[in-house]
Amino acid sequence: MAEQNKENPESLSRRKFIQNAGFTVGGLAVGGIIGSLIPKEKKTETKVSQQKSEDFNQALMYFTPEQYQVVDAATERIFPEDDHGPGAKALGVAFFIDHQLSGNWGFNAREYMQAPFFRGEKVQGYQGRLNRRDIFDIGIREMQNHSQAVYKKDFTELSGDEQDAVLKDFEADKVDITTISPNGFFQMLRSVTLEGAYSDPLYGGNKNMDGWKMKNYPGSQMAYADIIDKDFKVVKPQSLKSHMTH
């Protein structure tokens, strides 16, 4: 152990995983995901990176096109493009949210959803019977309704300032909805926007790791033992994908 530690920790970890799992090249038949853990030849790697491939991830799993457009516009107001770099739109945040809603998170699958339901105190947390899919369906529709009521236009047709005003009304619970909490919906939209901007690109947001680059966040590195006691230094970001191809 002590000796192994002197090596570059990155290569140590990769090899260790492979060794521990017992997948030796030339021994067992390797395939599937496990096969890709084995270091590839340099040649193949350059070949792969030269091919410019389409982003097949950018299609909808849950939203209707209209819902997608409303969310795309709203999240861009929450996290707009500026001099620092791209906003929610360019980072793929609305696709991220769509993909999240399609799975466990959208169904509140790992949360307690048993009856009876009572309105609780704020400190007792969410007590509704609706799951996140329901809340997004209602929230988006009510954003459209509110836009129509105030401006006689769809949310997507509003100016930036008008869109902000609609969002502020939701944030301040100034929209009259009985089924969901406007503020609760707004807070969920805000936090899932940040998730989309900064989660690993494997989930469909943080496109190109541009969210991380803006913040000088290095993403997934194997080790910081060499820099932990040093002054700030920009480290080139890396995503989980790099663990698959090395």
């Binding site: 521990n20 699958a109 307690y112 009572f118 400190v123 033992a225 932990i228 002054d231 663990h243």
Partner: protein, 571 residues
Amino acid sequence: MARKLPKVDVVIIGVGWAGGIIASELTKKGLKVVGLERGKERKTEDYFMVHDELRYALRYELMQDLSKETITFRGNEKVRALPMRQYGSFLLGDGLGGSGVHWNGQTFRFLPYDFEIYSKTVERYGKNKIPADMALQDWGIKYDQLEPYYDRFEKLAGISGEENPLAGKRSDKYPTPPMKKSPAMEMFEKVTKQMKLHPYMMPSANLSESYKNPDGIQRAACQYCGYCERFGCEYGAKADPVVTVIPVANKTGNFEIRTHSNVRRILKTGDKVTGVMYTDVTTGEDIEQPADIVVLTSYVFNNIRLLLMSDVGKPYDPNTGTGVIGKNYAYQVIKGNAVGFFDDKEFNTFAGAGALGMVVDDYNGDNFDHSNLNFIHGGMISLSQTGLRPIQNNPVPGGKPTWGKEFKANSVKYANRFLSVASQGSSMPFKRHYLDLDPSYKDAYGDPLIRITFDFEEQDRQMAKFLATKCTDILKGMGPNHIDSMKDLGPYDITTYQSTHNTGGVIMGADPATSAVNNYLQMWDVDNLFVVGASAFPHNSGYNPTDTVGALAYRAAEGILKYRDQGGQVV
């Protein structure tokens, strides 16, 4: 009818730190032990893709599935308790290793004062210092008695640290030297020294160098990867039960782990327990596992829930103050903090380790005079560097917008330009803070959920305010351009993460009338049942709990061996 299996020497309910330690100690001595764990198997190889903030920190990959089981909560008895439907205040462990897999590894001993808190408080300030509704009591054990067990746990885990000048005496130094010091920690050290405080390196289970423990288990050094709290360690550097005690127990050939085994009842005949009934969650089958000795190590909530559901021990009644099961539920007062924003300094705060930090204990325990203060005890104050990940860390100076153009500009600007000085306040027990069975909400098997009745009290509000002021003073010396600090503690809120440091409910003591277990964590009422974990704490100190849980587990293991040899109460 449950299928009945052959009897074993010992059955352990839940295989986290407490269960793992007991298993390794007993199997080494030749006892046949079965460990029942409701969750799944875990191993280091699981963490190949662990640097994933969304999956592990925000979707709680490693934690208990709340759709199957949760807790209910109310601030006081006038309110209807409602289920914690989503995670917030604390995160419950699940699967082999329990929370030990995704803890930080901050490994503190409690102060000598903690164990004799009632006597010491009365001695120094008089009886009137203790509010009438506070259920303060001594632990029935002294620091010096527990010290050898602390030493054993620290050697097992390989704790990296240096002497804390304000703590109890140590019989030996930490097994490994302290972790590396980041520039931010150096700033904290310099300022606190100038203020004549006593900074020291946080004792860490992350391992400053590779280490071989007394059981012969060897582990690699920490890489400061920044994905520690809420994550498993892909290097096996962080001490957790899966890479320390469990393999030791397995190697003896005397340990059988059954995962996916949800224990639902402890079985009792007369004044002895006879085993447990559990459900194999993969088949739905109910199975009875008889045993000579039962060890309950399923964390605070289920320790109490299982006792109450099984009719073992006398339930606590807050109206009369009698009974013991569920009594003295306490937590941690963690919000007394200050955050400093630096316009022209940037830090490597994306890097870090779960237990990397510097600490002062000048305002912890009774290390300072409380004569003119409206609270007792206090808390540690630290600057820690646990790795700031980008989704969960977007602070902006107070009063600034939290979304939109200005928010984005500020949150991007300050991403690597803020530091927190934080306190970890103790939590005193109160007569009306307790745990019992919820009358209406059920788990996936139809069993009642545990109900928490708890809120912050004047003690907590005063202490948090005091500690926030001290944090601010330290931070000022570090020279930020702007400081935000806690103004008011507010009510206890289940929706925001504070800590998974829940304590009490099956507390230890010297008197069976006021405690549930003796100082070997053996039930007073039932000689062959040991209840191990932070459930034994009569109050919670101004530190993280696990060093004390580990020490008590070692002591309990010794008690179990004593019981096997001589029977009866071992004290």
